[in-house]
């Protein structure tokens, strides 16, 4: 088994992986003795360690995973008896001879999913009369319900984007995976460039950008509020050096940076306090997290000596607090350093790409962040709704500085391809959001941008073009 060159394909402890069953995905980290619940089943991932990625495991009793020996292919029943139509099939609700209790008993006996399905088939009085296709469909349906296998995959942008869209579309502003694919391409994301990302998609968009850059170049995450959200980025399981290319900059300092007043802002005590609060929020200790965010908490912490020494419990509490405060101070300093580094990257205003996908109104975000881009660089803005992008489009045409503007969306249609049963999949996603994309151009030095400035060099058929302003 242990061939050369396979090491990078093996599951290690601490790895971020994706569990898959059917079309359902779930991202988890491989931790010892960690109980994972997936698709109504619980199990431990310990046994997965050392196995190759894409291995399918069977879940045996006690939640222990065992690598599936051989992929069981074909139908569990090899009886090739089948009806031609359903004229004699009556739905009397009695075709299945096993009762629910019987099935439960089978499950408790530890029967494999495959075996339960076999039992169901044998006890179905109508199965033989069903057409070959209906039999197939029946087995597929039962497999989905009773098969207790799980496949462990290496995470990728494709898998995580599909996972988020399937499980938690609300967390990623309903950004469908084909739309994300368009964004990465339209923004020309590639190794070696300097890309700005503003997203509130749990880090999925950021992670996707990082994957496409492969640890070459730099990504600057502009974040709103307390701190950057990166749960999705973690799920990618990037090697450590990828994180060296990742920078962050709070959106609340952008105006200061553009005005050249950032240093003052950073030294400003209120800014510090803000930072302080943020550092605290990042600790993510649920019972205390709420308190720490509040200003009262901070004033309390600065006066810790006063109530120290009241009773043992309190002292220890204070000690922990102080240690934490110290930790926070270090974190704050680190944060300031990071802020300065990100600011330095931004100050050149020579970024190579801009990707926006957030729950905020995209118009002010776009208009502000575009100022950090070099000329002749692509940008792409995602919005779940079309109207704010119409506004962006109009505004951009008004102020100039961009060409190649396009407001688009994509339709995604899946197909079932089976002999004599090929057709579009019945259910398709209703909407995957909208994109506005374009390219920056150099500011016109000769004359200030007139409000009516057209991006076309005086075409005769201007009347037919979209209106502006």
């Amino acid at each position: 088994m242990a061939d050369n060159g396979d090491d990078q394909y093996r599951i290690n402890e601490g790895d971020y992986v994706v569990l898959k069953r059917g079309d359902i995905f779930k991202a988890v980290q491989i931790l010892p003795k960690k109980k994972v619940i997936f698709e109504k089943q619980w199990f431990f991932l310990d046994n997965a360690v050392g196995n190759l990625y894409s291995t399918t495991f069977e879940i045996s009793s006690g939640g222990i995973l065992q690598p599936q020996k051989q992929k069981e292919t074909g139908n569990p029943s090899d009886l090739k008896e089948a009806g031609t139509d359903n004229r004699h099939i009556v739905d009397d609700g009695k075709s299945q001879k096993l009762t629910r209790d019987d099935i439960e008993t089978l499950k408790e006996q530890g029967l494999k999913g495959q075996e339960i399905i076999q039992q169901l088939i044998e006890n179905s009085s109508t199965f033989r009369d069903k057409t070959e296709y209906a039999q197939d469909k029946y087995i597929k349906k039962k497999k989905k319900k009773y098969e207790n296998t799980v496949t462990i995959l290496k995470p990728s942008c494709r898998i995580l984007a599909m996972m988020y869209h399937g499980r938690e579309p609300g967390k990623i502003c309903h950004l469908r995976y084909d739309t994300l694919a368009q964004m990465l391409t339209l923004a020309n994301i590639h190794a070696g460039s300097k890309v700005l990302v503003f997203e509130t998609c749990a880090g999925l968009v950021l992670g996707s950008v990082m994957e496409r850059m492969g640890g070459h170049g730099s990504v600057i995450q502009m974040y709103p509020g307390g701190g950057p959200v990166r749960a999705g980025v973690e799920s990618f399981g990037f090697p450590a050096h990828f994180h060296d290319t990742l920078h962050e900059f709070p959106i609340c300092h952008v105006n200061a940076l553009l005005a050249g007043a950032l240093d003052a802002a950073a030294k400003d005590p209120t800014a510090d306090e803000k930072q302080f609060g943020l550092a605290a929020e990042e600790e993510q200790i649920p019972p205390e997290a709420e308190q720490q965010g509040s200003p009262e908490e901070q004033s309390m912490e600065t006066n810790t000596e006063d109530d120290a020494g009241q009773d043992q419990e309190k002292i220890e509490k204070e000690k922990r607090r102080e240690a934490k405060a110290q930790e926070k101070k270090v974190k704050l300093e680190e944060k300031q350093k990071k802020l300065a580094a990100a600011a330095a990257l931004l100050e050149g205003r020579n970024a190579d790409g801009l990707v926006i996908a957030s729950r905020f109104h995209p118009c002010p975000v776009l208009m502000t962040l575009l100022r950090f881009l070099s000329p002749s660089r692509p940008f792409v803005v995602y919005s779940q709704y079309k109207e704010p992008l119409i506004e962006c489009y109009t505004k951009l045409r008004e102020v100039g500085g961009t060409v190649n503007l396009r407001l688009t969306d994509t339709w995604l249609r899946h197909y079932q391809v089976l002999p004599n049963r090929t057709h579009p999949v019945l259910l398709m996603s209703g909407g995957g959001g909208y994109l506005l994309s374009g390219t920056t151009i150099a500011a016109d030095r000769s004359k200030p941008a007139a409000p009516q400035q057209s991006e076309e060099p005086a075409p005769k058929r201007q009347k037919l073009k979209d209106t502006e302003g």
Binding site: A181, N188, S376, R406, T408, R413, Y415, T467
Partner: protein, 291 residues
Amino acid sequence: MSFVEYSDCIQDGDVAIVYLNHNSVMPVKVQHGAQTQTRYGVIRHSSDLIGQRYGSKVTCSKGGWVYVLHPTPELWTVALPHRTQILYTTDIATITMMLELKPGSVVCESGTGSGSLSHAILRTIAPTGHLHTVEFHQQRAEKVQEEFTEHRVAHLVTVRNQDVCKDGFGVSGVADAVFLDIPSPWEAVGHARAAMKRQGGRLCSFSPCIEQVQRTCQALVDQGFEEISTLEVLLRVHDVRTVSLPLPDFGPDSRTETSPNHAAISLKTTTAPREMPGHTGYLTFATKPRT
């Protein structure tokens, strides 16, 4: 300039994209002393292009102006000289993500055609990946090789002039991903499998007709591919415009004194283009398991 690396200024020997308007762009080989005719007049490379920043506005001899843009695979796709039917950005984007392409990926492609997808692949897999592309039409293979050199990506690609259905990709056990855009992809599925890494990889086949898809899917099943999935992505472009909806005249109203004469309400909306591409091709994806 290179298709895989941005630079700020236009240099002799670059390929620049001249942007005339939103549905007209042209590629220009920048050369000292050369001239390019556009419908807005002539562009003189030595004075108008060389040394200028990408993204600059260039005023042509007739007083009209154009913008000179840095080449990207997406701009190249709309500017390139067609030698075959090409893949467009919408499909390319989907293919790139679903094949899990990233820096370092080794990719096999056939046919190369006009190189529209090839440039996008090269952009994504640079600086450490490699593209092995197979084109059975000799003239096309030579032409695309020439373009790769001009675009400074030749170090990332090997063009082979052979029949992929008969001779395969010319490599074995190296590819993370394979892309097929040929009339009979089912004949190349075995070769695709052989080209792929022992540890597995992803495959995509692009076919316009459903019968091709069916045969390909059968071949994929026979060759032990898994996770077979066929999909189609359609792009909708929305034209932004202000429309004005007149209000009808209901005649004099006893409750209000004034009767609006030319009342109309204008609003910003989008309209769909009168015609849009309804079908490009079906994309069939599959995973080759570890063998």
